[in-house]
């Protein structure tokens, strides 16, 4: 249990979460296309450098900062732990997301159509802090008579998947570009628990000095892939696991040459888990007052056995291998950008030209559907093109983690090599003790005009 408590908090402080705020609607990189299939693409083809064509990594935890738990001061680790435990709430969560493009390439079918295909691996974990359970494990029930410990706070979802995808970006006219991407998911590992209910309460009463009450328990954990986690966990992501399908859709629309709207819906899909399933459920009510001695020598009772049988009769506990469906965490992205300043022409594919501005400002909104509630993120940004080949973007973001997250990104075109890099929470990197989240995103691609 000690290890479990430590593990929960250690994961919380080093976990990685993907935001991709900076990459959205930025430049003309293959990364942008993955966040909005309706992006305007102005090159003839692109070839991602395997494994490093798009790598994303982010740290995220809303409950506390690294320094709260690991500050170098005279307080004991227990003192720090207890303070953190006191300040977190059941709606706080840790979030781990990392995505690696294994293959990614695209090709212009005609002047208006761009097709892209690829395969990426994604690890995604979100776990809300079950504060009652952690306090119960840490302190026990003795200090908390009459307090109801809720089972419903146990909410988590973890996925390790491979995604094979094919997308199309279609330029309808000078103002409008639309796109869509079809995805086949292959889940290697899924663990999820949500919509649990029930409580455990210790009270005083007239029958015995104390009473334990388990009320309205209805809890379950659904899993697939946990039995072969060591040998098949990666190979199953290559279409060997539980399969599912989904879509991305996106749009770019120019209200005027200077005002651009981009929006996308990603991972509108599901995975059907039917292989290697292990589901666990517990349901029922139980009141424990202790053992009632009856002092009947003519009919001796096996009280302990009676207690066990009574518990089993009232609280069912079973394991099944029933198939289930897991929905992907859908993402909504939208950005409104106003461009201004010096205007330049750019040579594009097929000897066409595109006009662009050296400066832009705008707002973005990102939403991820999560088990307890959607995660919202609001970003204002400034883009500055230093040349036709160097584009930079600076962001300020408000989200669950913080209201002061500053990010920076750059896209460089070195000949045919496109390099993209972004770092969110640049000040957090400078001082890890005060950080709730950090995200990193980079990619290397060959683009051909």
């Amino acid at each position: 249990m000690k290890k479990l408590l430590l593990l929960i908090f250690l994961i919380a402080t080093v976990s990685l979460k993907s935001q991709q705020k900076i990459a959205f609607s930025f430049g003309e990189t293959p990364q942008t296309l993955m966040l909005n299939p309706g992006s305007e693409i102005n090159y003839k083809s692109h070839y991602g450098i395997p494994i490093v064509s798009n790598f994303q990594l982010t740290i995220g935890n809303t409950g506390f900062q690294m320094g709260d738990l690991f500050s170098n001061d005279s307080r004991s680790f227990n003192e720090k732990f207890e303070k953190v435990l006191d300040q977190i709430s059941p709606s706080d969560y840790i979030n781990l997301n990392t995505k690696i493009d294994v293959l990614n390439f695209g090709y212009r079918y005609n002047n208006k159509t761009y097709i892209s295909i690829g395969f990426y691996e994604e690890l995604d974990l979100i776990a809300y802090f079950p504060k009652d359970a952690i306090e119960g494990l840490y302190y026990g029930n003795d200090p908390f008579f009459n307090r109801s410990f809720s089972v419903s706070q146990a909410i988590m979802k973890a996925d390790l998947i491979g995604v094979l995808h094919a997308g199309i970006s279609k330029k309808v006219d000078e103002k409008l570009t639309i796109g869509a991407r079809f995805k086949i998911y292959s889940s290697s590992l899924n663990i999820e628990t949500n919509n649990n209910s029930g409580s455990i309460t210790t009270t005083t009463n007239n029958i015995n000095i104390s009473r334990l009450t388990l009320q309205n328990l209805d809890a379950g954990v659904r899993t697939s892939g946990i039995d072969n986690i060591e040998e098949d966990v990666l190979s199953n992501t290559f279409l060997g696991g539980n399969l599912g399908m989904g879509f991305d859709v996106g749009i770019t629309y120019h209200f005027s040459p200077q005002i651009e709207f981009t929006g996308s819906i990603l991972d509108l899909g599901f995975i059907k888990h039917s292989k290697n399933i292990r589901n666990f459920t517990a349901e029922g009510d139980y009141v424990l007052d202790g053992i009632n001695f009856e002092y009947n020598p003519d009919d001796p009772i096996d009280y302990w056995k009676q207690l066990e049988n009574d518990f089993k009769a009232n609280v069912s506990n079973e394991e099944t291998d029933d198939a289930y469906t897991s929905w992907r965490p859908m993402k909504l992205n939208a950005a409104l950008k106003y461009s201004f300043g010096e205007r330049r022409n750019k040579f594009c594919y097929a000897k066409t030209r595109k006009q662009y501005y050296y400066n832009s400002i705008g707002f973005q909104m990102h939403t991820i559907m999560r088990p307890l509630k959607p995660q919202f993120s609001f970003t204002s940004f400034y883009e500055k093109s230093l040349s036709q080949s160097i584009h930079t973007k600076f962001t300020h973001t408000i989200n669950d983690y913080s209201s002061a997250i500053f990010g920076a990104g750059a896209a460089l075109q070195l000949g045919k090599l496109n390099i993209f890099g972004a770092l969110d929470n640049v000040f957090g990197v400078r001082d890890l003790s005060t950080v709730n989240n950090i995200s990193l995103n980079f990619g290397f691609n060959i683009t051909i005009d």
Partner: protein, 180 residues
């Protein structure tokens, strides 16, 4: 162009190079988890009929009941328990005194722990007692697999009258201190 590239590369490099963990300490992660768990144990209500043999018309001076006590069957619990405290509350509405003996036994019926006798005087409605067992000094207690509660009617010149309703109520909890 080189200046631009250098500028951008410098910005990113600085972000990483300036990463500071000096004010963090990962060497002293030593979490002591010491939960205290309270659970209800044995309770009973006895009246005058429990101490009177209607066939022979005589008192029954001692009655005993016994139950399995499997709390310490788990090696994890055995290894992590450092102390157990038993609390007793007794309400005696008899006009007689009682002695209550709580004894623990291992799987072979060898005594592992005797809680000192609880002596309840007549008509004591608020008898309370607490008994603490430190595992360091009483490691045998962890071998306990059964518990018996003996209720002894103290000798008296007057005999139990089956027609006069009298009760004795016994309540108990166990509080287990763990160090994990």
């Amino acid at each position: 162009m080189n200046i631009y590239i250098k500028s951008v590369v410098t910005i990113f490099s600085l972000c990483f190079l300036m990463s500071c963990t000096d004010n963090l300490n990962f060497d002293e992660i030593n979490l002591n988890v010491d939960p205290i768990i309270t659970v209800p144990l044995i309770y009973f209500d006895l009246d005058q009929d429990d101490f009177f043999n209607s066939s022979s018309g005589t008192e029954i001076p001692t009655i005993t009941d016994i139950s399995d006590f499997r709390v310490f069957e788990s090696s994890d619990i055995r290894n992590e328990t450092i102390k157990t405290v038993f609390d007793f509350e007794i309400e005696n509405r008899f006009d007689r005194s009682f002695e209550v003996n709580v004894v623990f036994f291992d799987g072979n019926d060898n005594i592992t722990q005797i809680i000192p006798a609880l002596n309840i005087v007549s008509e004591d409605l608020d008898y309370v007692a607490t008994y603490s067992i430190e595992i360091a000094t009483s490691p045998m207690f962890l071998s306990s697999r059964k518990v018996s509660v003996e209720v002894k009617l103290s000798p008296s010149s007057s005999q139990i009258d089956p027609n006069i309703y009298q009760t004795i109520k016994f309540r108990s909890t166990g509080t287990f201190y763990f160090s994990i």
